[in-house]
Amino acid sequence: MTDISKEAIAPPRSFLSQDAIQVFYRLLAALLICAVLAVLSDSFLSLGNILNVLRQASLTFFIASGLTLVVLTAGLDLSVGANVALSACIAGTVIHKTGSPALGILTGLACGGMVGLLNGVMVTALRIPSFIATYGMLWVLNGLTYWYMAGETLHGFPAGFRQIGSGYLFGLPIPVYLLLVFLGIGTLFAQRTVWGQEIYAIGANPVAARLSGIPVARRLLLVYAVSGTMAGLASIIFLSRLNSAEADIGESLTLPAIAAVLIGGTSLFGGVGTVFGTFIGALILTLVLNGMNLLSVSANWQPLVTGIIVILAVWLDMKTRRRAQ
């Protein structure tokens, strides 16, 4: 207990903190997977494939980056995937109806953010545990999306809009630039700003955080709103990359995002973890699927291997942390 409260009032994290060591382990794991795949498959290390992996990891990362902040406060957002689905369907309709991608993008972000804010209100004002509040939200969003789409699919978007998800700039896919930008912003926000530090403090010990004058409720609202807005962003990338939206995209997005956060070393108990770790988590998940595709591993093994990696990552994490303390 005293350890945790000490952590709550600790000075801003330097890059040599325990988190940095955890990130280092994860980077090592990712490199190890890369090395194995490079030996097994000739095409793995090609530039095309590396860009491919980065672009595929970006969608998971966008969702998971906002989610990381929620998990840092010892919360969970189970509604992110359903939020992506609703935001994509609404943003897609706006683009179809108005012909304006800009308006569609704004609507998608706003829809995602609003959902996040509602989650935040349930957690702070109504004091519903985040796991339950966002699980309920998941159903509400699914219901709305299924009703709204009524089994239809939206497809066909303007070429300019398609560039966001499918285009290239100086040889790099545009989602990779966005990935780098949000990785930078997320890392700076969490590690270098007062608000970021307060979020860590809330996760480490909410009571101590409140006693030391941190406006806990407002920070939590912020965190859920950010998570929702990032889901909104992911919905735009999804729309633009897939050229379509349908109601059932959410389910296949939530668990990989949560897995990326956990593999990335962010503790479900709060206060420990980094956005950069989440990026590596998303990368590891993508690498594993990419590798299995390249090696033509039988379809049956793919979920199994992914599951084992999630379990291994969390177990290793708890083991190394215990030793560090």
Binding site: S41, D42, S43, F44, S46, G48, N49, N52, Q56, L59, W139, N142, G143, Y146, W147, M149, A150, G151, E152, T153, H155, G156, S166, F238, R241, L242, N243, S244, E246, A247, D248, I249, E251, S252, L253, L289, N290, N293, L294, S296, A299, N300, Q302
Partner: protein, 324 residues
Amino acid sequence: MKQTLGYLALPLLMAAALTTPARADGETIAVFTKNQTNPFFQTVRVGADNMAKTLNAKTLQYIPTKPDSIPEQLSQIEDVVVKKPSAIVFTPVDYKAMVPGVEKINDAKIPVVNITDRSAGGKFLSFVGADDYSLGLETARFLLKTLGGKGNIVIIEGVKGSLTNVDRVRGFNDALKENAGAKLLASQPGNYQRLQALQVMENLMQSNAQIDGVLAANDAMAVGAIEALDGANRKAQVIGINGTKEAIDAIKSGKLLASGDYNGFFQGCLGTMMAIRSLRNQPVIAEIVLKPTVITKDNYQPFDVPLEQRSCPTFEEASKLGGK
């Protein structure tokens, strides 16, 4: 005890059937589909509504709020047994797990027609469906014919272990075996999801410099694969299955080679038709397995009509569509 009562009731029922020539209109048909997310089931529901309207009956739609949820469909069955509709048109969310549910319907003596996925058990007065194996076989044959019987092929599978996927992929593989010049490069899962298919295709393009044909187990994955090919400026012939509106548009614009028509609209029409006919003591067809149609740029027109404007086949047409 129940059984004896049944035997006692049987002559009475038969007498009733003989004395009343046809029951009045206005029957209520409960239509069970698997989810609200797959456009296919939307076409089933529109077909069922269309038929019911034509025959002056009503439909009640039962759809699990969580897609393909076994417990939810089971509890919907419990509700419907209490509500006692005139008949049920039933797609099990899982062809094995829903057998106890079907038995509940049977116990309640509500006549039931099985559509789309063939239930592993229970008593039905009719089955209406499409043949996934021949859909896979015929679409793949069409692709290989277009490619001149040779080329590098990849298969993007649906959900591993699902009945539709097993049969469709078996059809794909049998068509490949017929063409000695065709080479299967990989058979990878896209779980019927567009994004997953797109990513699988992107990955497969990295390790295979030449891909000539893509066999996708549904249209959403076929369109995902086309997005991946477009993104890499590569060309391959792609086929899908289901005949969704999106697939028809892609066939029109030349991006998709063909789609196998799963014909949900007719399944909804015919399932409802059989249910109502049996209520009105008219003959029913015990089994209709719709013949596969490969939708291509030469024959897409009849499929390019909005669902609301399509019309159900007549009973005479129905028997020619694949009745057994």
